[in-house]
Structures are given as structure tokens and as C-alpha cells.
């Protein structure tokens, strides 16, 4: 298969779209631009006809693997099916054509979307306040850390509350988000059951602690059974509790972070609420908050007065804006459609299906692969690729590609050696789960009998194993000009 870029196609003078004419006024118009500001040399861009363009991107699509291609058990990413209705609705001209600076009386339908979704997300979180502005989960985390900062600033405790406690199984975004707001990160070890070591937490708590960032269930897929004790301890020490909602699929429709003591909770609409991942975004990371943090939420807030919606900017204690407008609106439209389609019953079915599928895979695979934490899991679980001699987790992952599956998340969480983090989601039929188990069992046999087959995998992908070290050693981050 060819590996070229779009710059390898086309010819000077070709174009992919027709535009209105300048009627020969080009030079005259260019002369109106101040000379020092006028572009001297055009940018080097492709010159391709429309058929060439379409074939190029269709070829690129075929080099890719998406949820629509097959099973994508990428742990912690919740790669569930993306409903097609929601794509259709997000393309309605009444949504896509709206300018965000139109006066609020001109955008009542869009404000209704924001308001409805806010109501449902607050209900799902069991928390009184919400902002839809964050554009992704990590952006929600940053919002949360800023809310922490404002809260302690208002209480005059900012100088001494400098630490954020983080379980050692946390997503990498958590410590990075805390650091962006100037908090110092203190790691809390996990115990032998894979959950927070409560004694260690207790020892770490004090007047210098701003709070804790928890992922529930944690990145091992294990629910923190002592969650109420943990949040009570943190609150008792004057701290706040942040809940990373990446793993909400584990208890959707059955439990609410607000009932567990969360002060800030971020949603990942591109995970739990089925909006497409887009190759790495756009997502959406709305943030729900507990009562004491409501005054600090970003502006504006959407409020309903009678049958009309209004934007409330009069919030003097707000941390300010996190997004120039209202967040990733078209992603929010999709999430609203998803919630309405499912209803309460469907939301419960999501977590039931996701947790059942994960436990089913775990039980079937633990006879073949090492399962460091052998207990009930939630929506995902972590195997170890240790014990196969020269074959490592990376090799197992790459070999799965040859069997037609997207590999799981690997080498995360860091507390499991050679981790294989598997999240099946609720949208895979049992036949697919069974086929995945058979593939992993077959790969285990190959690991013993013909390890080289794994070491050199993949064999059937568009490219063979890629040299990542070389990309760092000899960086080529753009095409050189011809």
C-alpha cells in the first residue's frame, strides 16, 4: 500500500473546490495591504483535484482502525459505539449555523440544549452545580483545580493548602492538572487489594492539604470500597475531593459521585456518553460541583426564567471563563441525544453491560494471563504480560492487531508491571468477547511456541512495527519543502 502524503499528489494549478471570482482585481487589492504586512511568498499547500483529495483521505481512513471497524478495548478510554442518530443531529443547520455571539434571545434553542443537558448531568452526578465549558477531561480537571484554588483563596487558606494527594494509580492528567495551578503532588500508595491505603492517606492529611484527586473506580477497575471513609477523612481535614469521571461507565445509573462525597466531578462525554473520539478529540469534559463550590463556577451560567433562557454573568466569585464561548456545543448535542435515547433504564443497562462484559473477560482470561488483582472488577481490569520470557506486553498488543483487534491500553496503570488494561464497554456482543478471548489464548500459545512471531508483530497491518526511538532521535515533524 502506498504511504505517501497528499503533497505527493496533484499538479500546479489543480484545485479541489471552486470559489467566487476576483474578476482580475487581485493585484489592485493586494496593493491595499500595507507593504510590510503583505505576504511575500505563498504557503506551500497541496494542489489537488477533488477526486484525488477524496481518494487520498479514503485511503487514510482504510489505514486506520475505529470503533466502527471492530473491537477497541482501550482501557480507560471507553471506546463504545457512537450512535449514528447523534451524528445526524449534530449536523443540523440550526445548531451548526449559530454564531456564539448572537444575543441570547436569538439562540433560545441552543440555550435549551445547554440547560437540558445541565439538568441531566447534575442529576447523574447528584451534585447541584455544573459547567459545560471544559473541552475535554483534562480541561475539566484544570477547571476543578482552579475551583479548589478559589475556594481556599476565599477562605484565606491558600497559602498553607499547597498539596494535592494522588493515589499512585491515577491518570497522568491528574498530577499535570494539579501542577498547572501550582499545587504540589503527593502520591498515596495503593494497598494489596489495589485500593487507596487509608492509613497512608490518614498520615498524609493535614492543614497543608488542599484535597485529593480520586478516580472511581480506580484505574485498575476496582471500586474504592472505603470511598465514604476516604472522603470523610479528607473533608475532616478541611480538604476537598476531586473525582475523575473517566470511569463513570462503571456505575452509570446506579450511584452518584455526589453521594460519595465528591466536591468536583468531571464527565468525559466522549467516553461515557458515546460521542465519537475523533482521532483524539474534540471531546467534552463538563464539571459538576458540590454546594460550597457553586459560586466559583465559570461564567456564564444558563438559567431558565419561565419559558426563556438567559445567560447569567453576574457571578462575582467565579473563576472566570474556561472556554471562549459555551464549550464544545456539538458534542453536548450528541450527549443530550444519548441520554434521552437511553432514559434511566438504559443508563442502568450501560453500566450493567459494561461491568458484566469486563468481569466475563477477566474470568475467562485469568487462566491464561496473570491477573494481579483477582477480585470483582467494574468496567475494566488489568492483566500483566509478565511471565512469557522474552515476549513482553508490547508484543502481545501488536500481535492482537494481526487477529483483527485494536490492542488494549498498555503499560498503564504504572503500578502493574507490563500492564494490559482491557475495557470492553457494553456495546460488544458476546461473540466478539469470545473471539477476543480465543485470540488472546492463541497468542499465549504462540508466546511459548514461536515467540519471534510476537516479537515481530504486527504482520498484517499496513505497516510493520514502527521505530519510535528514531522519531525522537531524528525528528521529522513536517514535510521539507521541495
Amino acid at each position: 500500500m502506498p504511504t505517501g502524503t497528499i503533497y505527493d499528489l496533484g499538479a500546479p494549478g489543480r484545485r479541489g473546490v471552486s470559489l467566487p471570482s476576483l474578476a482580475g482585481r487581485e493585484e489592485e487589492l493586494l496593493a491595499l495591504i500595507p507593504e510590510g504586512a503583505r505576504r511575500r511568498e505563498p504557503p506551500w499547500l497541496p494542489e489537488v483535484s477533488q477526486p484525488e483529495l477524496v481518494r487520498h483521505f479514503l485511503r487514510l481512513a482504510r489505514l486506520n482502525y475505529g470503533v466502527d471497524s471492530g473491537f477497541y478495548p482501550l482501557g480507560s478510554c471507553t471506546m463504545k459505539y457512537n450512535p449514528k442518530l447523534n451524528e445526524q443531529l449534530a449536523r443540523l443547520a440550526g445548531f451548526t449555523g449559530l454564531h456564539p455571539l448572537l444575543p441570547e434571545e436569538e439562540v433560545q434553542g441552543a440555550l435549551a440544549v445547554l440547560w437540558e443537558l445541565s439538568q441531566y448531568l447534575r442529576g447523574i452526578a447528584g451534585m447541584p452545580g455544573i459547567t459545560l465549558q471544559p473541552a475535554a477531561g483534562a480541561h475539566g480537571e484544570l477547571t476543578g483545580m482552579l475551583l479548589f484554588k478559589r475556594y481556599f483563596q476565599e477562605r484565606g487558606e491558600l497559602e498553607r493548602r499547597v498539596k494535592i494527594l494522588l493515589p499512585d494509580s491515577a491518570h497522568g492528567t491528574n498530577p499535570a492538572s494539579a501542577a498547572m495551578v501550582g499545587f504540589r503532588v503527593v502520591s498515596i500508595p495503593s494497598n494489596e487489594r489495589g485500593t487507596v491505603d487509608v492509613a497512608a492517606l490518614e498520615a498524609a492529611l493535614g492543614e497543608d492539604v488542599a484535597g485529593i484527586m480520586l478516580t472511581v473506580p480506580n484505574t485498575l477497575g476496582i471500586f474504592e470500597e472505603e470511598i465514604l471513609k476516604i472522603t470523610e477523612l479528607v473533608h475532616g481535614a478541611g480538604g476537598l475531593c476531586y473525582f475523575d469521571g473517566a470511569n463513570l461507565n462503571a456505575y452509570l445509573g446506579r450511584a452518584r459521585p455526589g453521594d460519595m462525597g465528591a466536591d468536583v466531578f468531571h464527565f468525559n462525554l466522549h467516553k461515557t456518553f458515546s460521542t465519537p473520539h475523533g482521532g483524539g478529540g474534540p471531546g467534552a469534559g463538563p464539571v459538576a460541583v458540590s454546594e460550597p463550590l457553586v459560586p466559583y463556577l465559570p461564567v456564564p451560567q444558563v438559567v431558565k426564567e419561565g419559558e426563556r433562557f438567559r445567560l447569567d454573568y453576574d457571578r462575582p466569585k467565579s473563576i472566570g471563563r474556561m472556554h471562549p464561548y459555551f464549550g464544545n456545543f456539538l458534542v453536548l448535542v450528541r450527549a443530550l441525544a444519548y441520554i434521552l435515547t437511553l432514559g434511566d433504564e438504559g443508563l442502568r443497562e450501560v453500566s450493567a453491560g459494561a461491568v458484566l462484559a469486563a468481569n466475563y473477560l477477566k474470568e475467562k482470561l485469568k487462566n491464561t494471563y496473570k491477573l494481579p488483582y483477582d477480585r470483582l472488577c467494574k468496567h475494566e481490569f488489568v492483566l500483566s504480560g509478565e511471565g512469557w520470557g522474552e515476549v513482553r506486553t508490547l508484543d502481545i498488543a501488536k500481535r492482537l492487531i494481526d487477529y483483527g483487534f485494536h490492542p488494549p491500553t498498555i503499560y498503564f496503570p504504572l503500578i502493574v508491571k507490563q500492564a494490559l488494561m482491557i475495557e470492553p464497554t457494553e456495546t460488544e456482543p458476546k461473540q466478539v468477547l469470545d473471539a477476543f478471548c480465543r485470540a488472546l489464548e492463541e497468542i499465549a500459545r504462540e508466546a511459548k511456541e514461536s515467540p519471534q512471531l510476537l516479537r515481530e508483530a504486527p504482520h498484517t497491518a499496513p505497516v510493520r512495527r514502527l521505530d519510535e526511538a528514531r522519531a525522537a532521535r531524528e525528528p521529522r515533524l513536517r514535510l521539507p519543502r521541495p
Binding site: 504586512a37 487514510l60 466502527d68 453521594d259 475523533g278 456482543p429
Partner: protein, 440 residues
Amino acid sequence: MKEYIPHTPEDIRAMLAEVGLQDVEALFSDIPREVRGRFRPLGLPPRDEDWVRRHLSGLAVASSGKGLIPFLGGGIYDHFIPAVVEYVLSLPELYTAYTPYQAEVSQGTLTWMFEYQTMVCELTGMEVANASMYDGATALAEAVLMAHRTPGGRRVLVPRSLNPRHREVLATYAWGAGLELVEVPYGEDGRLRLSQVPEGVCALVVQQPNFFGMIEDLSGLKDRLGEAFLIVSVNPISLGVLEPPGSFGADVVVGEGQVLGLPPSFGGPLLGIFATREEHLRRMPGRISGQTVDAEGKVGYVMAFQTREQHIRRERATSNICTNSALCALAATVYLSALGPEGLRRVALLSFERAHRLAEELSALPGFEPALPGPFFNEFPIRCPDPEGAVSRLREAGIAVLPPEELEKAGLTGAFQVAVTERRTPEELSLFVSVLREGR
């Protein structure tokens, strides 16, 4: 059973048997009983597909603003989007994939990211670009944080003529990081007036064209900054005719990429453009696709320099950004490929030409004059005796413009602002002028 969840009662029984549990509820026994006991449902029944379609379609038609002729800009513009953009964005292997962690099954994503980075470098005149940030405002904020990490200093020079929304987002990030924003005024022509560079400055921010549409003179700015960063926030369409900031020594170029093939979408999703110099590569936030070879020596692409990123570097990462705006960057890649260098220049010049034609005709109306006399690109503020009245007359005729209160946020009073793209027809321009002429 919902249409997205394929488990039949038989499947559920068989899977439960494998797990050794009696019923589905037992899967949740590790959630404290107390927590489960407090749960309250939303009170939502499940709905069929047509019900949901009708409900959302109803909300889509409920906004009266959707039918207005947009002479409204202020950071989001109504440029033409070729049909091929939506076609490519609808290809399932592209939009239903995630971050290309597994390069061998993600060559499509990694290849277009590499193409995108090339195009962004070409537009901005910079050496390296990342694969996108959330939007132009957060890209700007991240650029300022990067400046703070690089030359150091806690003060940031921010022009009064910066998009107020971008300034507000920047202010939130800066407060979090403990940085101080120092305002730089604009002169009577609406362009930046930098008198002196105070101590402890890590960056000067310039918007090109600025919030009022004025074309800034970028020459000589970097010399006055020394080690401090020159950060330029661009409208990428304008780079079809304006000299790229890279030529003026910019350290970081950011921008709102919505104009490159994305509809206004009530302000999101957007596209944050981010490009810098090679020497700053290791401090740049975000994902980067890099070219390499596979085991057989064939060219391929991987995510490069991941050691800057949060999933490796944790609290010492260059940023916390993970999910970004990939699909929007794909839209920009397709858009720029469809237009080519000539198409981009034409869109820029058509927008420029129509904006200038309208400005000229409006200035001929008694009482109307340009609020700022500097050179502008495709947007300009217009002063008149009763700007609120003018805006409401235009609204009655089905035309939307940027109202006076938005300009007041940037310190300009007594004016409203007009943005013109290549989509505004001569008839629409005539209507605009006639509404204001007759309304007098």
C-alpha cells in the same frame, strides 16, 4: 434492551455463570450499600429514535438567530465550507478512532496529522506545530504558560485590542499559574502601541489582525523583547495575504482554526492552532506526529516526543492536555488541501475586498465613519450617532453584526463592528447599506 447494547437475557445468563454470580446486581456489591441507597433516577423514560430526532430537531429550529445574515465575526467567521470536508469528517475509521497510541493501526490519523503540521508551519512561517489544542483561546493561554516556563518572568503584556473572550480565558489560566497580565493600549488608529517593556516580562501577546480587524505592524517587536516571547494569535485565513509571524521572529504562533472548514457551531468545537520554533520543541504542549520507518524500512508515522506529555511525565509535563481537537484539525487539513495556495489567497482577498467595499459605502452615509482609521483585513468597527439603533434596524432586516457592548469590552465605545467573508454577496452588501441609509 437498547439498540446499542447487544446482550440478550441468554447472553447475560451465560456471562454471569462464567463470573459465578447470580444476578447483575451482584456485580455492584462493592459499591457501598449506603451510596446505592441514595441514588435517585432522572425520571426519564427511554425514547425511540424518531422521538429523540424530533425533540432535538425542534430545539435546532427554535433559535431565531439561525436565519440571520452573518456580518458577525469577533473571532468566529462564516466562511464557505467545501462539501468534501464533511465527507472526510464522516469517514468512520477516522472519526470513531481514538488517539493514535497504536501507530500500526493508526497510520491514517498519524499521516493527516503530519500533513496538518506541515500546513500549519507553512501558514505561520514556523518550524514545528502540534496536532491541535482545544481552541484559539486556550492555545493562547498555553503559549503564555510555555513562555513562563522558558524565558521565565511572571508578567505578560496583553493588548487591549485582544479578543475579549480570549483575554478572559487567558486571565483564568494566568491566575491559576500566578501570572500578572499587563495591558498594552492601542493608538488612535486601533493598532498596538507598545511604549516600554517592563521588567519580568515573559511574553508579549499580539493578535493579527486584532479584535477590531486592524492589521498590526509586527516588525521590530521581537527586538524589543529580547528573551521574552513574541506570541502572535492569528486568523489563519488572513495568512493567505499577510506575511506570516514567523518572518517577524515570533516564538509561538497560535490561532483559532474555526475558519478553516468548521461551521460556527455556537462556538464549539473549535481548533487551537499552535506552532513554535524548533528550539522550543521540548517545551511545546500537545501531540505531535513524527515520521519514522517500520521494521522493513518503510516510511510510517508515530506520536513523537511523548516524553513531554502528561501520561509519561505526569506533574512535570508541558501541559495536562490529552484529548484535543483532532477531528477539527482534520477538517482544516482537508479544507486547505481543497483550496490550495491560490484558493486560500482568494478567500482572503475576497473577504478583504468585500469588507473594504462595505466600509467605503458605509462611510459615505452621513454620520457614519470608521471608528478606527488603521488598515484592516475583513472586519472593522463603524461609528455612528446611534449604534444600538443601527444594530436593531439591521436585525429587523435579518442582519447580525457585533453589537456595541462587545466592543466596549475592548474599550471602544459608540460603534458596532462588521465582519465580511467571501460568502457575503453583493446583494447582501447592498441590503446592509440600504437599511442604514433608509433608517435615518
